[in-house]
């Protein structure tokens, strides 16, 4: 998805993992994904730079569709669709 599309995307579930260091955001994604249905979109917010690489790799491994990352002031929004 383009950055503009991502910025206009409303996630079905938003997980605020800001302020936690690795592996906090990844574990938050792992734990909270159980709360969304297949095909729904989750947004993980993180201040940890490594998460930008970690969650796309995790999505690839788990079969979820990584949609993209948007950089906000001081944090990132990482979007993916549950398989």
């Amino acid at each position: 998805m383009t950055e503009d599309e991502l910025k206009n995307l409303t996630a079905d579930k938003v997980v605020d993992a800001r302020g936690t260091a690795c592996p906090g955001p990844l574990l938050a994604a792992k734990q909270k994904i159980a709360e969304v249905q297949s095909g729904q979109v989750m947004e993980v917010q993180s201040t940890d730079v490594g998460t930008k690489r970690d969650i796309p790799k995790w999505c690839n491994k788990m079969g979820h569709e990584y949609l993209g990352t948007v950089e906000e002031a001081g944090y990132f929004k990482i979007f993916f669709k549950k398989q």
Binding site: G19, T20, A21, C22, P23, L26, L27, A29, K30, Q31, W58, K61, M62
Partner: protein, 137 residues
């Protein structure tokens, strides 16, 4: 399900923390985890020691910097990582019988609640042989 086996020999805070972080990554990937706690590691898992562990493995002069970094980044304690991982995936934590005896731990109750059982080294070697990922920390 893929399995990660850790031979946790170290009882140093930096390596224990590392083991917790790596286990978290494995849990996120839905891996089963078996941790075999060996010689020095068993000391850290003793009930009376788990909160006192503060030695670094190789760089004692960096101890203050290490702990300041943990605090600044709100990093969990080493055993808190393992507790959380146990809530996410299948984790077995087994203490090597000999290692336990060295530090005065003869039974499971002598160790923190995360510990599942006492084992022999043969089980560790067998598990490591059959694991998808084996780490010796």
């Amino acid at each position: 399900m893929a399995k990660m086996v850790i031979g946790l020999f170290s009882g140093s805070i930096d390596r224990l923390t590392g083991a917790g972080v790596i286990s978290s990554g494995a849990a996120a990937l839905d891996m089963d985890i078996e941790i075999y706690v060996l010689i020095m590691g068993a000391r850290a898992f003793m009930k009376e020691n788990s909160e006192k562990i503060n030695e670094l493995s190789e760089t004692p002069h960096l101890q203050d910097q290490f702990f300041n970094g943990l605090d600044k980044n709100k990093v969990k304690k080493w055993h808190e990582f393992l507790k959380d991982v146990k809530e996410i995936t299948n984790v077995k934590i087994l203490i090597c019988g000999l290692a336990g005896k060295i530090w005065g731990g003869e039974k499971t109750d002598d160790f923190i609640d995360l510990v599942d059982d006492i084992c022999g080294v043969g089980e560790y070697v067998d598990a490591a042989t059959n694991a998808d990922l084996h780490l010796f920390i």
